[in-house]
């Protein structure tokens, strides 16, 4: 393999299990290939690095065409919890960790994590609301500066 990509900045902009995992897997995968990586969490993607919140993230069973399930069934109480449990089991078998453990693991690989200032302000949050792996709350401008020389991946 030519190994031309040397750096990636991955944006995680959506909440919900199925929207957070792909970015995390890509960030970890980049580090496994020796590619420099950093993560920028914005809007509901911030849930992935919110203390406590990140342990309770579920699969969306309503408004998620990937579930192949009529909306009315997805809305039944407990459906989202059940889908989450099933998916978590399968992921664990593949050695994909739960989100809080995955964030710790990715932090240990040397991938830096940042929160989006606009969203943090909008939700009335502060640095204490986030896991210690989050290095800083930064502006969009700072994100672009930090991404210099690499590829930006938006998820």
């Amino acid at each position: 393999m030519s190994g031309n990509i040397e750096k990636v900045s991955i944006v995680i902009s959506k909440g919900g299990l199925a929207d957070i995992y792909p970015g995390l897997i890509m960030a970890n995968g980049a580090r496994m290939e020796g590619i420099e990586a950093n993560l920028f969490f914005t809007f509901f993607g911030l849930d992935a690095i919110r203390k406590g919140v990140n342990a309770k993230i579920k699969v969306a069973t309503v408004g998620n065409p990937g579930m192949h399930m009529p909306t009315i069934l997805g809305a039944i109480p407990g459906m989202s919890a059940m889908a989450t449990m099933m998916m978590s089991k399968k992921m664990d078998a593949l050695d994909i960790p739960p989100i809080p453990e995955f964030i710790e693991l990715i932090g240990e690989t040397g991938c830096e994590m940042f929160g989006c200032k606009a969203t943090v302000d909008m939700f009335g949050l502060s640095k204490e609301d986030f896991v210690p792996e989050m290095k800083e709350i930064i502006t969009v401008g700072e994100f672009y500066e930090m991404s210099h020389g690499g590829q930006i991946i938006f998820t």
Partner: protein
Amino acid sequence: MTSKTIAGVEVEVDAEGFLQKPDQWNEEIAKEIGKEYGVEDLTDRHWMVINFMRNEYLANGAAPSIRALGKKSGVSVKELYQLFPKGPAKLAAKIGGIPKPKGCI
């Protein structure tokens, strides 16, 4: 698949330099591959990881994930990246003479 001579031994490797037959491997080969990929000296900590990977592969037919490495090899994920900066799972597999790890994690 091609043949290559490493540390005086002819071994079969794939296009990226991963040994295809773990039984063709020895410690001298490990040292030479390490040097080629920027790990000048293999310390006891390196050997812990390399031996763990080899044993897992020989026992299960697959290289362990980075998660399993961090939990079971005795070396944390953080240290793994210090020991093998250019990607610990792949580099330790290469030095340990086992085929390229196939997992995404």
